[in-house]
């Protein structure tokens, strides 16, 4: 249980079934606000599924059944009648492989702004600049904002996706193994960025490298075959794990 700070996201008895296979079983977790939470566990254990359930992106696939509650800031986002795009706006998502939209660098960042906030050109340009500065891309791209985003390096593209995500002022940033496709230097840049961003946003990071979690996490959730084995503050988790499976995973016996 997290004692310092409020809970931003809480799930109650969350069960997710895909193609009749239970992927997430009875998930009860609490994610603290304005901290970096790492979701760790071996590959294929449902980490990405859990992440994508937070912004209801899971539903766009066929044969997905979601039961249970996901409470964000006190509201159960799974209840009927809610405006899904608005829910999604609160959560930014960056994926394993950066997917820049098929537009220019400027338009990529401006995409969400145009949809939600109307088109005041001056405001748009200012916000785009601010976001690009936040992620440390501004100096590299300020002279070629109208170039296609596909011309950037993979590391730059990932930072662009971050800029794009924070432009719509979400409360939470969901990261699905964001550094696995990057070289070590670019990966380090992203990690530093996430640490910086957690001051303003709640960051949830799915990673399957223990070392990365040790480096950046404030709070850790350990997922094993669709079940939450242990969750807690990073310090406690890594120095004093309570569960035998956790101990085995940390010791490298299971992967």
């Amino acid at each position: 249980m997290n004692k310092s700070g409020n809970t931003q996201i809480e799930t109650k008895v969350l069960n997710v079934t895909i193609h009749s296979n239970p992927v997430l079983k009875n998930i009860d977790i609490q994610i603290p606000a304005k901290q970096l939470t790492a979701i760790i566990g071996p590959s294929g254990c449902g980490k990405t599924t859990l992440l994508k359930s937070f912004n209801r992106l899971l539903e766009i696939q066929d044969n997905v059944k979601i039961d249970g509650e996901i409470v964000v800031d006190g509201i159960n986002i799974m209840s009927g009648g809610l405006n899904v795009p608005d829910i999604r706006k609160k959560m930014g998502l960056i994926s394993q492989k950066p997917y820049p939209l098929p537009m220019s660098i400027f338009e990529n960042v401006a995409y969400g702004l145009r949809i939600h906030h109307g088109k005041n050109a001056k405001e748009l340009a200012e916000t785009v600049q601010k976001c690009l500065q936040e992620v440390g891309l501004w100096n590299e791209v300020k002279d070629r904002l109208n170039d296609p985003a596909s011309r950037l390096s993979v590391g730059q593209q990932q930072r662009l996706c971050l800029a794009r995500a924070i432009a719509v002022q979400p409360e939470v940033i969901l990261c699905d193994e964001p550094t696995s496709a990057l070289d070590p230097i670019a990966a380090q840049q992203i990690e530093k960025l996430l640490l910086k961003l957690k001051k303003d946003f709640t960051v949830i990071l799915v990673t399957h490298t223990l070392r990365q979690a040790k480096r950046v996490a404030d709070y850790v959730i350990f997922l094993y075959f669709g079940k939450v084995v242990e969750q807690g503050s990073a310090v406690e988790f890594f120095t004093n794990p309570k569960n035998p499976e956790t101990k085995a995973y940390l010791a490298g016996e299971i992967s």
Binding site: R88, L93, L101, R164
Partner: protein
């Protein structure tokens, strides 16, 4: 690349053999020289036998592979043979009439020796344009629905509809157009636009049936393009709070733009070259009608309507071959454009 050219030269004898086969056909059809035809044919057979007899080891494999090369090469030669024979057949009419007479004159009276194609060309362009104008929005909208909005069960039902529609023979389309669209245009549509003298046989009727024939082509290609957009891209847009429609408008369209364009080119080619269905309802008059509901003739339907007279007017055959050549070249250009568009696009957006 150099390595493969070297491999090709290993089969020199076979290449020479195919070349002589090709030459023999040219001598037969273009120069009508039976002696040289026979000569090269025999040469080809000799080379073929020699080539195969030479092989003693791995007989089966080499035989098989060389057979495949032979067949494939013949196919390519056939492509060029088609072109050459069409060009050769058009020589007569091109010598008889100047190109400007053929293309710019509107008078088509084969019995008087007049072969002006201008009216027919204009009619073809009008009919194709109108049918595409009808078909493109309907097809693209349907494709979006099928790819992005339709529930799985509905998708399963629509699929066979499109496949069957694609397989219906053009005569059957023409027959239905005859029974349904001709009276519809004559009694309802034309009077609605102030035209009370239309017989129902005309450019618009042809466009109507053409657009139905083009639906399956554009729809299936567009659906393929839409489905090829990586799901992560859609997720990226949705996770920024965009609605499904905004994602379609701004992301999916852009990402599959080349595919849509290629589909349109292909559909255009089909509409341009359709012969039978158009010939049954267009009125078969080689003139530019005063209204869209008046009779006309397209390049393709011209061939169907006039081929019977070929025995009485020899040069008419050459004229019709020339029209076929035009059809071939136009379709070739549009297919090429579609291919280039797709290739250029795959280089630009790499996912």
């Amino acid at each position: 690349m150099p390595n493969n050219i070297r491999n090709v030269f290993k089969h020199k004898l076979l290449i020479v053999g195919i070349l002589s086969l090709f030459l023999s056909f040219i001598f037969l059809f273009i120069f009508n020289d039976l002696f040289l035809f026979a000569l090269f044919l025999i040469l080809f057979i000799i080379l073929l036998i020699y080539n195969f007899v030479k092989v003693t080891r791995k007989l089966y494999d080499t035989l098989g592979t060389r057979l495949m090369l032979f067949v494939t090469a013949s196919m390519i030669f056939l492509f060029f043979l088609l072109l050459i024979i069409l060009i050769n057949g058009s020589i007569d009419i091109l010598q008889d009439q100047s190109l400007s007479e053929l293309i710019l004159s509107s008078t088509w009276k084969p019995f008087s020796g007049e072969f002006g194609l201008f009216a027919v060309i204009i009619d073809t362009l009008i009919v194709t344009a109108v049918s595409m104008l009808i078909a493109i929005p309907i097809s693209v909208l349907s494709a979006i629905y099928i790819a992005e909005y339709a529930p799985k069960k509905f998708r399963k039902i629509i699929r066979p509809f499109i496949d069957v529609l694609a397989g219906v023979p053009s005569v059957v389309f023409g027959l239905c157009a005859l029974l349904v669209f001709v009276p519809l245009v004559r009694d309802d549509i034309a009077p609605f636009f102030g035209n009370t003298i239309s017989s129902g046989f005309g450019l618009f009727t042809a466009s109507l049936i053409l657009s139905i024939m083009v639906f399956p082509i554009i729809i299936s290609l567009c659906v393929e393009s839409f489905n090829a957009v990586p799901i992560a891209l859609k997720e990226a847009s949705l996770s920024l709070g965009a609605t499904k429609w905004e994602t379609v408008k701004k992301v999916i369209f852009r990402a599959s733009g080349p595919g849509i364009l290629a589909a349109i080119f292909l559909g255009f080619g089909r509409a341009f070259g359709e012969t039978i269905a158009v010939a049954m309802v267009i009125g078969n008059q080689e003139l530019i009608p005063k209204s869209l509901f008046g009779p006309g003739q397209t390049l393709a339907s011209l061939i169907a309507s006039n081929y019977t007279e070929v025995s009485s007017i020899p040069i008419l055959a050459s004229a019709l071959i020339f029209v076929a050549l035009i059809l071939f070249v136009v379709v070739l250009i549009f297919n090429l454009l579609g291919y280039l568009v797709l290739r250029r696009a795959s280089k630009r957006w790499k996912y």
